[in-house]
């Protein structure tokens, strides 16, 4: 399933582009969010709850709930549900609450 329309965000589908998720190469479309591209590729667990380490997935899809915080291009706590996908983006599941000192 792919998110085509969104109540508050515009999804102008552009060309197909490549990005990586935990080192694995995936494809998505320019103009859609990172979360939309991940979901379309079958990725369901975007992170883990801080206390019980349970999987957390795509939930509010409007940048409010903190369920989709991921590391993107080395930056922690990026809300992938409202962040547009870019060519070559390095998307990773982050450990814990987000390590601000990590440089990779």
């Amino acid at each position: 399933m792919r998110v085509i329309q969104h109540p508050i965000l515009h999804f102008q589908r552009g060309r197909e582009i490549k990005f990586t998720f935990n080192g694995r190469e995936l494809t998505g479309y320019e103009g859609e969010t990172i979360a939309a591209a991940l979901h379309a590729s079958g990725v369901r667990a975007l992170g883990h709850s801080p206390r019980l380490n349970r999987p957390r997935g795509f939930f509010c899809a409007t940048g409010n709930c903190s369920s989709c915080l991921m590391k993107v291009n080395g930056i922690a706590n990026v809300r992938v549900c409202i962040t547009p996908l870019q060519e070559g983006a390095v998307v990773e599941v982050q450990k814990g609450k987000g390590d601000i000192l990590a440089t990779d």
């Binding site: 801080p50 903190s66 922690a76 706590n77 609450k97 987000g98 390590d99 601000i100 000192l101």
Partner: protein, 385 residues
Amino acid sequence: MNELVDAVIIGGGIHGCAIACSLAQKSRQKILLLEKKYLAAGATGRCAAGIRQQFGTEINIRLATASIKKFEQLQDELDYHRNVGLLQHGYLMLAYSQSELKQYQENALLQKQIDANNQTSLLGVDEISEMVPQLNLKGVVGASYNPKDGHVDPFLATDAYATAARRRGVEIRTDTEVTDILLQGERVCGVVTHKGEIIHTPVVVNAAGAFGSILGKKVGIDLPLYPERHQLLVSEPLEMFLGPTIISFFHGACFKQTPQGSLILGVGDPQHEIKALNERSSWQFLGDVARKLTYHMPLLENISVIRQWAGLYDMTPDAQGIVGETGIEGFYLDLGWSGHGFQLAPAIGQIMAEIICGEKPFIDVRVLSLERFARGELIPEPYCV
């Protein structure tokens, strides 16, 4: 409805709760705490939650040193069911001039004289850089550091006192505003609540923070107290990365990481801040914090803000608290802490209880009396943010 109690404490912040708790431990009398909103609704619940010994006046050093020792024991002493969020990660106070550094040196000496175990030391730029490598040290000439300073959760600490107070027989009534204080000649004889209830009492403690000047007027005392809005914001939680609380008095900036991993960020702007009973946060503050904090630590540029809020300092002319008796018999004051009151509550709670019971307080607080303003004996504390 008329009722009779032995003491009424007005204000459900940490001071009011600590006084109630200490007083109930000393006597089996009927003690009533009245709070117009809910516990910690005022300055306590809005403060930056810092505790430190690094002050510049003798009275504050004595009160802070005693209070930190009490905070360390608070969970056991009050038999509270959990830790009160104590995190002793140290306070790093940056100096931007030799004169500021010299003052820190004098403060450290004074702190050592008062408490031989005080661990305040001066750090050079290299040591600061080693402790907090991400800090922008442009213009920094040194710092004062004490590893025992840190953080306590204001809600948990207030709840710890309130819970223990209730267990000791104190009645706490929230959503109850005191609208008048009754006098019989020059002595207190009761309070009136917004519901029109009259509560007879020979003792009234005014621990209402910035709202306390309104209560002072009810007994004809014009307290030298004015409200000053201060603002804070909190970030999303992050993995622990920041050691000490960082303060720059030069920039009026302060930030730290709480035990949950969130950053609490504050910028003092006393010149421009609103001096009224206004607890609303402003959008200008968000910009100010963003500019100042990314200057001190550029690494913070990508963090997200969760919430911002405002609270009221209860400012006095020398930025020091007003403690003890007044010209009105039975009317006691514990307010005017000007932004550093939260952390002194453990000591002051005990001291107020001792004063009310006619005992000699364990720390002499006569320098904080209301009369000092009439006598012109001000004791300015310069180290406030």
